[in-house]
């Protein structure tokens, strides 16, 4: 019999015992709903954690340092120490290296970490603090989600975003700071020879003169407009913006040429490049899964790298185990529902014994009868699966809703703790059909084996 005819007959048969089959299907739906609700929590929490971690910008980032760095001063990969790679000529981490990184596949950014000490002047009061440059990707990667005000209007805008604690130091009403100006006082690095003597003598009280390929340091000021205030600390500390209280566009930070701690290395390092060299570069890739390949390529180019790849692997493993456990608990109700399918179909065989005999007398073979009962089980699984996904999604939304009421009372921001992605919806429906077919195997085989002569005698 053709699949269309089988399905039509199966649906007709299910309609004949509407109440019983509806209850059985409802059992499947409840089982699937339990499974979907559990897994939607697992998926939702994973997505929530991933979003938070992704917004930290750490998991798609590779931190690159030069092998020219002082031994023991920078973190180095154990495999590079003493390896053939380390015996190769170490390259400076300068602008040309940065451009080489940008040419690698899947690399979206290669930015220096510009951080320097400064003195913020606001209302004639000095506030010593740290300033960091923020790349344009900060606009979209979620690092500044939930901030008051706006992100920088452009890559070279003279604007600043303040960290909330610092903003509170400046004003008891932090929000009122937006739109106001502050002044950064910082130590500008100036290559020797660009202002022979004058720079040094003019700033004699404030500058330090380095010898060799050195530079002078002169105090400078920069006026910036406050455009936003952020609660969070993007990148949470490691290699990023930890303890930073003022964020400015990276381009602006680079143009300031402010003296950084790592500049001392350039002074004493005889292999200093003609270009400006960087203490480290943060290379960002499109996706955390591409970190490994890009990291290997950069190492091959002669630089040291570090990423949190292993941490992401462990995170994925953790959530996979959580999903598995939630799936097992969720499947228990579905397992009970399959017993309902077996019971319903066995009852149907008893009731439809004569009908099976007639089918066989008219030319149905064992496979036709088996397929008919299989299809009935599959249809119950499909309908139960579709309704179950809907109910499971609804339960997930209710849990999110309830959680957010609680969080709101605690003064915490709302979160989305459940998610039913397409793969989960389709997978759950497919699983419901599969489980129903397995449940239908015994009744279908029993129906197929019925002797037609005996079945026709059945009243």
């Amino acid at each position: 019999m053709k699949f269309g005819d089988l399905t039509e007959l199966a649906v007709r048969n299910l309609r004949e015992a509407m109440l019983r089959n509806s209850l059985t299907t409802l059992g499947v739906a409840v089982g699937v709903a339990s499974l979907v609700a559990m897994l939607s929590l697992g998926v939702g929490l994973q997505q929530f954690a991933s979003r938070r971690l992704a917004s930290s910008g750490l998991f798609n980032a590779i931190f690159v340092t030069s092998r020219l760095s002082f031994q023991g001063f920078e973190r180095r990969g154990s495999e590079s120490a003493g390896s053939s790679a380390s015996s190769e000529k170490a390259l400076p981490l300068d602008e040309s290296a940065r451009q080489e990184f940008l040419k690698l596949d899947n690399v979206t950014e290669a930015n220096p970490q510009v951080r320097f000490m400064t003195e913020v002047r606001f209302g004639n009061t000095p506030y010593p603090t740290m300033v960091a440059g923020v790349p344009e990707s900060g606009r979209t990667d979620g690092a500044f989600d939930g901030m008051q005000g706006t992100f920088f209007s452009g890559a070279s805008a003279d604007e600043a975003i303040l960290q909330m604690d610092f903003a509170k130091d400046l004003s008891s009403q932090p929000a009122s700071l937006i739109g106001k100006d502050l002044v950064l006082r910082y130590a500008k690095r100036q290559a020797l020879g660009t202002q022979p003597n004058s720079g040094i003598s003019a700033t004699a009280n404030h500058s330090a003169q380095a010898s060799g390929g050195g530079f002078s340091v002169v105090p400078e000021e920069k006026q910036l407009r406050i455009v936003g205030i952020t609660e969070s600390e993007p990148e949470g500390g490691f290699g990023g913006f930890g303890r930073i209280r003022v964020f400015i566009p990276l381009q602006v930070a680079e143009d300031l040429r402010a003296t950084e701690v790592s500049d001392l290395r350039d002074v004493v390092n005889s292999a200093v490049s003609a270009d400006r060299s960087y203490a480290s570069l943060t290379v960002r890739v499109k996706n955390p899964t591409e970190v490994e390949g890009v990291e290997a390529a950069i190492k091959k180019m002669g630089f040291d790298t570090f990423s949190l790849l292993d941490t992401t692997r462990n995170l994925r493993l953790f959530f996979t185990v959580i999903d598995l456990l939630l799936g097992i608990f969720g499947s228990l109700a579905l397992a009970v529902a399959t017993l309902g399918i077996v019971n319903t179909l066995v009852m149907a065989i008893l009731e439809r014994r004569r009908e099976i005999g007639i089918f066989k007398a008219l030319g149905a073979d064992d496979h036709d009868v088996q397929k008919l009962f299989f299809t009935e089980a599959g249809v119950m699984g499909f309908i139960g699966g579709v309704f179950g996904v809907g109910i499971g999604w609804f339960i997930g939304r209710c849990l999110t809703w309830g959680t957010n009421i609680y969080l709101k009372r605690q003064g915490l921001p709302s979160v989305d703790i459940s998610a039913v992605p397409l793969w989960l919806a389709l997978g759950a429906i497919g699983f419901a059909i599969l489980v129903s077919l397995i449940a239908g195997f015994y009744p279908a085989s029993r129906a197929a084996r019925l002797n037609p002569v005996e079945a026709l005698r059945y009243e």
Partner: protein, 234 residues
């Protein structure tokens, strides 16, 4: 197995024995029988004589314990379950004393069922169902369920269902057993008409000698699982 071939049936020393507790029941015991193409054979016998068991063997619903049944030179005893099902679909049509229409289906859907099993295209199915129902004069009752039809109409519907796949052989098990005499005669005339107009071989089981004598070409009497007499009707 093509239904257009001669339609002849040949049973050779066929037995169907089965155990009931300690006892061995010889429902059919060494029966040899030939039916010519286009012939109308009545298997006459009392209740429990083995005539229905013999018909089930000819229908491929049951397998002989011993012996061979040749239809179109194929031995039914040697066919596997799949081939036997195809034989029931394409070569034979069956009608029963209890009509055996499916109560949840309309008459039209009942008649269509063998065509679904034969995987006939939907468009052709409609035409064949209409043709079969016209042949038994039930074209106006196609949308009715069996419970809305009289006994005679149900048996005519069952005849339409048996004939819709255009089989070469029609097997009828007490087709008038549940009908009053007038309606029974009407059904018998219809079967006889089908036999004569399309040279369909008919094997009918009955316990009514008068009906058998009026309509069959030949009567084989079955008693205790054996053919006790076989000859042309008087």
């Amino acid at each position: 197995m093509e239904s257009q071939i001669d339609g002849a049936i040949r049973a050779e020393d066929v037995s169907r024995h089965y155990r009931m507790g300690e006892a061995l029941i010889r429902a059919v015991d060494g029966v040899s029988l030939s039916v010519r193409a286009g012939e109308f054979l009545a298997l006459l016998g009392s209740s429990g004589s083995g005539k229905s068991t013999l018909l089930n063997l000819l229908a491929g619903l049951d397998r002989p314990t011993a012996g061979a049944i040749f239809v179109h030179s194929h031995n039914l005893a040697e066919l596997d379950t799949h081939e036997l099902a195809r034989y029931r679909r394409q070569t034979v049509g069956m009608v029963f004393q209890a009509f055996n229409l499916l109560p949840k289906m309309t008459l039209e859907e009942n008649v269509e069922l063998p065509l679904r099993l034969s995987e006939v295209e939907r468009g052709e199915r409609d035409a064949r169902v209409r043709e079969a129902l016209e042949r038994v004069h039930l074209e106006n009752r196609r949308a009715h369920r069996p419970s809305e039809l009289s006994g005679g109409e149900q048996q005519r519907g069952a005849l339409a269902r048996a004939l819709v796949n255009r089989p070469g052989i029609l097997l009828a098990d007490e087709p008038t057993g549940n009908l009053d005499s007038a309606t029974g005669e009407e059904i018998m005339k219809l079967i006889r008409d089908i036999n004569q107009s399309s040279r369909t071989t008919v094997v009918m089981v009955t316990h009514e000698r008068a009906l058998a004598e009026r309509f069959a070409d030949r009567i084989a009497t079955v008693a205790d699982g054996r053919i006790s007499s076989d000859g042309k009707r008087q």
